[in-house]
Symmetry: C2
Subunit: 581 residues, 2 copies
């Protein structure tokens, strides 16, 4: 493609709200144009990249035996009422009333329609397994779309849905998708880690995220430092081994005066004990509660609450921090609270409904400093079991860098930042039960199909790749997903020899099957070099008066600092070699 | 693909509301599944066909120099207010309010977003011409979606938009698209006629429709019978030469009693004159009028009013038939009205606003029988110019089969039925003016880009193809857009020799690059033959005990009546020959 004919202009400046590198460069390089908050058009260069990513995904999905379909954007709300998600999906479903006065929604994902399709075509165990996928437009009405293509409202997504007759089959389908994802990301030329993830409100058993490592990423993952250990999880899911406390004799509970002490750090300092020898109380309430209900969390002072784990402990109920009014109504003293005395006459439990959740770090730690439920007083030597108990004792703690790996190894957790580019779930039978996707098994009994679902955001993958691969001048695109492979710049366009040589070489490269963006514009060299860096194709090739004097062209890989010269006569071979790296 | 693993089941019965062949067969063959009125999912077989059509379109658009982009489904209503179509687009825009309280619409077409993109990237005449296209999802909230994929609400469409610096450029871009369309339909294996069409409310100068000939089609087109003449137009647009009336002396106006005569046919019979010697009056009003306004149409009795032509004469105002109340309020006598006396004292024009439109057949015809504006009376020898006049005299007549071709040839119009599968328009500067797509011309003056737009409904093309290519047993798909090329059926699946030979031949065909749907199911021959006919792949190949006795396979083209035998040893060559032949 001649750049003079390629639609779209590079921009000197990014939009004022573009904070991430991918947002800045995708806009400046003319890959996308914003139409509304979180809604973009793809221009020719951007769409070529998207198609390349889509093709890689399609080939690997086909290879894994998945069958391509296409489901609609606009759907009857009834389908979502059947699955029970019409009112609970987050972000809330974008809705409209059509001319026939029916309530319609824009689909943010397609479990409902796929299960509806499966239900109509599934009869016998002989029909299973199957895996249906699409690369299709979705809409999620995010309240705060941001960061260009990283957090949009309308987007292209590859979503796949597997159906199996039993758990073993689901395991096989799930693994096939995990393998396909590894191949997809590897072919796209990006460094992605598969980590354990929380299933979230989409439900189901196991789930894994694929995270592209990038400093600017908004996700945190933890990976075991032991290279023989495969443990990796995102922050929401990460577990860790909590070191057992030094054994010591259980002492008597003792009230101490702690004037003005409101924080756990202040308390530890005041009493000169390690923070790990304290237990802190954190007050939550169910997100939808309007009062009268406290989720009372006890966790060791050196740990933080992982609200995702907490939500799962609560059976999916989303927790929010309790308001000061709610805390006061329960008779709890913020800054001096503990689970000790929750059940006292006229204690908090006599006033409001309380669910006491205790992190499993607490029972293992003797003689903890705890709140006395009295302003400016705490208790020394609080002991789980003797002085207080929880309704539920389990792991609700946030992992941190340096924590011991939960696997049986000597490693510790290393923290990385990254961007989620894929997510795979074992859904189980939730949707097949609510939407009637049944089959007759070998014994003629009706069973519900076991489902898995598997997503990749196509535009997000492009943006994430740029987050991980750029410098101060622009994008550094992997060959497999760059819109073209070579940026051919003819300099000195007033020189007929250069124009002729560059045009001829452009034809030769194309004849050799190499995809070339030919900068044939009448622009100064500086503009061409800047645009080449900004657009970030893998290889820049320059034809100039100076080079032609020696019969040479200049080659410079985008990811290298140095350029090199090659004879124009062997130009095609030199370009191929440079592309291959 | 083994049919035992291909997702989807054939159905014995079509849905009760499926009246067209394409709707019935696409559903029964498992190509699509209805999700809501006019909203479908594509299942694997259907989506394979869609992708093949899309690929042909993409290749030909690329070849014509168009550049692929992708624009969003959900758009700010503001964009449509800028173009002036927010409230006038038909069917009305599907609308929603997003979480940010902004009014959004689902795009039924993309003139607005393309022009918005062009405006941001267009600076100079040197940037022109360009042509941007996408293959993308659209939503039109039709009040009465019907006929399966022929009239849907959500659909995949290829839409292209050309931008040029002047009329000559637009002509070139328009012709390039017309040529590309001919190639696309030819490659898809379907017989399509390009006809002149009305531009409709989308605006612009020239427009052509591409119509697939099919008895069941809802569109009517007229084609000149002279094979050296290229005239072809759809019913809304078709013109014809109106024969000049025999010259005769102008006679005096004469009132005659016509008791009980209310119709033009009855009048001609009563007075024993040809219908072409009468003039009839038809009363319209602007669609949005609430009274007090009559569009008074005079047309020769043997002709019918073409309401599309009438709308264009009215400058785009949509006409509707006037109500009896409106007619009475004007003092017009239905059944005995004419334009004679419109301006009389106390005549219709003194009561309401009247626009008199006269078809150009009327001035050429002397001595017409006309209404006397008096119940049971008519006038003989009414003559245009002497007895009445029109505000506008022009062609507003509907063409009919047998009418003389408007071109300078001896042909007459032949009527065909068909389905519109593509439409190309010259839009001119309407959108570039309202949305600011300007450029500086060679003299540095600001100009508005001239636009064209070019659409093909991808799913509609599949459905139309089936309307034109089917029999009582199922679809007869052209090779280029069939989901697979060969339906390979292994009969007698309890016979190991057949199973082995069929499987081996399946592999051989695939190795030869032939796309095969292999019916390996344990079903009786009748079921397999029925499904083969229903799905309609170009060639059916049967491996059976009987054939194998002679070392033979059976080949039957879907579009042929007879099967033939071929040696299995030369099977691949035989299949290729049969597919080609």
């Amino acid at each position: 493609m001649r750049l003079s004919r390629s639609f779209g202009k590079t921009l000197r400046d990014a939009p004022a709200d573009a904070e991430t590198a991918s947002h800045q460069y995708l806009t400046r390089a003319g890959f996308v144009q914003q139409v509304a908050a979180g809604i973009y058009s793809y221009m020719p260069l951007g769409w070529r990249s998207l198609k390349k990513i889509s093709n890689i995904i399609r080939e690997e999905m086909d290879r894994a035996g998945a069958q391509e379909i296409s489901m609609p954007v606009v759907q009857p709300r009834e389908l979502w009422e059947q699955s029970g998600r019409a009112d609970t999906f987050q972000p809330p479903l974008a809705s409209l009333t059509d001319r026939r006065d029916r309530n319609m929604v824009l689909a943010p994902t397609h479990e409902e329609t796929t299960t509806y399709m499966a239900a109509a075509n599934l009869e016998s165990y002989r029909d299973l397994p199957f895996n249906l996928y699409q690369i299709q437009t979705k809409f999620r009405d995010e309240a705060r779309p941001r960061a260009g293509l990283l957090r949009v409202r309308e987007f292209e997504m590859k979503d796949a849905y597997s159906f199996d007759k039993d758990e073993e089959g689901l395991d096989v389908s799930f693994q096939a998708m995990a393998d396909a994802y590894h191949r997809i990301f590897s072919r796209a030329g990006i460094d992605v880690r598969m980590v354990e993830a929380d299933s979230g409100p989409i439900g189901g058993k196991d789930s894994n995220e694929f995270v592209l490592l990038a400093e600017s990423g908004e996700d945190t993952i933890y990976v075991c430092s032991d290279e023989n250990c495969s443990y990796a999880a995102n922050a929401e899911k990460a577990e860790f081994r909590k070191p057992a406390a030094e054994p010591e004799d259980v002492a008597d509970l003792e009230e101490v005066h702690t004037p003005g002490i409101k924080t756990i750090e202040g308390l530890a300092e005041f009493l000169d004990v390690p923070i790990s020898k304290t237990v802190k109380a954190v007050f939550y309430a169910p997100e939808t509660s309007t009062g009268g209900e406290i989720i009372f969390v006890s966790i060791r002072g050196d740990l933080e609450v992982n609200e995702t784990k907490l939500r799962n402990v609560l059976g999916g109920v989303e927790p929010r921090l309790a308001t000061p009014d709610e805390v006061a109504a329960a008779g709890l003293v913020a800054g001096s609270a503990s689970a000790i005395g929750l059940d006292a006459d006229d204690g908090p439990r006599s006033r409001v409904k309380i669910t006491s959740i205790v992190d499993d770090s607490v029972p293992n730690s003797p003689n903890l400093v705890a709140g006395a439920n009295k302003t400016d007083y705490h208790l020394k030597s609080g002991n789980y079991g003797r002085d207080f108990e929880g309704d539920i004792v389990t792991d609700i703690a946030m992992a941190q860098a340096g924590d011991a790996c939960p696997n049986d190894c000597d490693g510790h957790l290393v923290e990385h930042r990254g961007v989620e580019v894929g997510h795979i779930f074992k859904l189980g039978t939730g949707y097949s039960e609510s939407m009637g996707a049944t089959f007759l098994d070998e014994e003629g009994r009706e069973q519900h199909a076991l489902m898995g679902c598997y997503g990749i955001g196509v535009g997000r993958l492009l943006a994430a790749t740029i987050e991980a691969n750029h410098d101060k001048n622009g994008m550094v695109l992997p060959r497999a997903i760059a819109p073209y492979e070579v940026y051919l710049a003819g300099l000195n366009t007033n020189n007929e020899e250069v124009v002729a040589a560059a045009s001829k070489f452009y034809d030769e490269l194309q004849d050799a099957g190499i995809e070339v963006l030919f900068d044939d514009r009448d622009e100064p060299p500086g503009v061409k070099f800047n645009d080449a860096d900004l657009i970030g194709l893998p290889l820049r090739v320059v034809v100039s008066v100076r080079g032609l004097k020696n019969g040479e062209i200049e080659l410079k890989r985008r990811d290298a600092d140095e350029a090199s010269m090659a004879p124009l006569a062997d130009g095609v071979a030199a370009v191929k070699a440079a592309l291959d790296g």
